[in-house]
Symmetry: C2
Subunit: 220 residues, 2 copies
Amino acid sequence: MTDQSYHHGKLREALLARATESIEEAGVEGLSLRQLARDLGVSHAAPGKHFRDKQALLDALALDGFRAMNARIIGASEAAGDHRSRFVRIASAYVDFAVSHPVLLAVMHSTKHHPDASDELRSIGEDGLRVARALIAEAMDAGELASGDCEMLALVCFVSLHGAAVLAAGNLLDGTSIDSLTVATTDLLWAGMIAGIPATQEAPGAVHEPLRELTRRHES
Amino acid sequence: MTDQSYHHGKLREALLARATESIEEAGVEGLSLRQLARDLGVSHAAPGKHFRDKQALLDALALDGFRAMNARIIGASEAAGDHRSRFVRIASAYVDFAVSHPVLLAVMHSTKHHPDASDELRSIGEDGLRVARALIAEAMDAGELASGDCEMLALVCFVSLHGAAVLAAGNLLDGTSIDSLTVATTDLLWAGMIAGIPATQEAPGAVHEPLRELTRRHES
DNA sequence: CCAGGATGTAGTCATTGACAACAATGTAGC
DNA sequence: GCTACATTGTTGTCAATGACTACATCCTGG
């Protein structure tokens, strides 16, 4: 190999790979461009040639993360089986990814929420939602689910599974196995969609207080 | 006022209050102990007397955040109304808090997930779950909901609402109002709990592949 | 063969978190 | 009153970091 030549050759890929390892080991806070460079045996400024700044690297990590996650979700959605089992399988794929790469998942979300995230990032972050919508629409057409606002139902499912994934990633479920939580969640959601939503009475409306107690609390 | 005396007097409270503002303005990354000190007109090392390091300050922020959030959730759970509307109100309280303090919420969770989080932090982070469980058990006893694993159902509801809160905080719901999502989520969950879960068939089991494509992807 | 872009290097700067030594303040016990 | 002492804040310092600039090396195409 000519790996010791002046040019690393695949520095960008190596940086991403090493960064992926690093964040899961030491968290995002522990990620240092200079340390990354040292790990790979290049100068401290070399990463700058591939990523304008640290955020740019995180953006790239997030993008890769979404690609990998979406691939699994889409793969799960295309597996054989009835609607319900495919639904569960999609959920498992999502949760599984979250558990395997908790820190990456956090980076993915915080990056997507960043005000100046790329359009690609914003879009790819919602593929999961699209998959859920397609499956629900299909099951609804087949008469398996009560008719309803397909778009909104998909969003609710996505949101719920997202919550399960995040909490699973955080290892926040003492005593409850992640798999059984996933099953319980999909079961409850599916049961709700079979039954349909009785009355769409308007919400009492969140109070939307200015909520100053958070800062005022420190005065007494 | 003797505010210009040698001792600030309430530096700890002032630091927390200013930090609370700062993170919502500039994110956690933008939080600097030295900048905080400058904002408050104290020396750069003064914060160190109250918080051993930056993480200690974040821990305190998270603790305060949970306290404020739990107070609202508990308040909502104690409001008058039938079980269902109280359920919706609890959800609204949670989501409302998330929308008002998105960055703080992220800090709260990442801090709680930190391996050496205090016991108090871990415990207080699950008060929301306790409230949900109490309400569901009550409604179930009243015969309003189908009987089932009360503990697990509460967890599922908590997880789902958490997901809604997180995504709402991230402003991730283009086109969908947060309030309507909250209503739709609580509706679906409630409908599912009324109907009950038909068959508790075992999950197909997540595949749990070693998932190396995330790093291998960079080789082709 | 050489012109120029891509990639990596060396050097530098301000900022940051953390620490240590010291000073001012308040307080408890005598 | 007065002195020991813990608390709280200050100044000084250090290594590490992200970001920038100028420069070196390599590769490719004309």
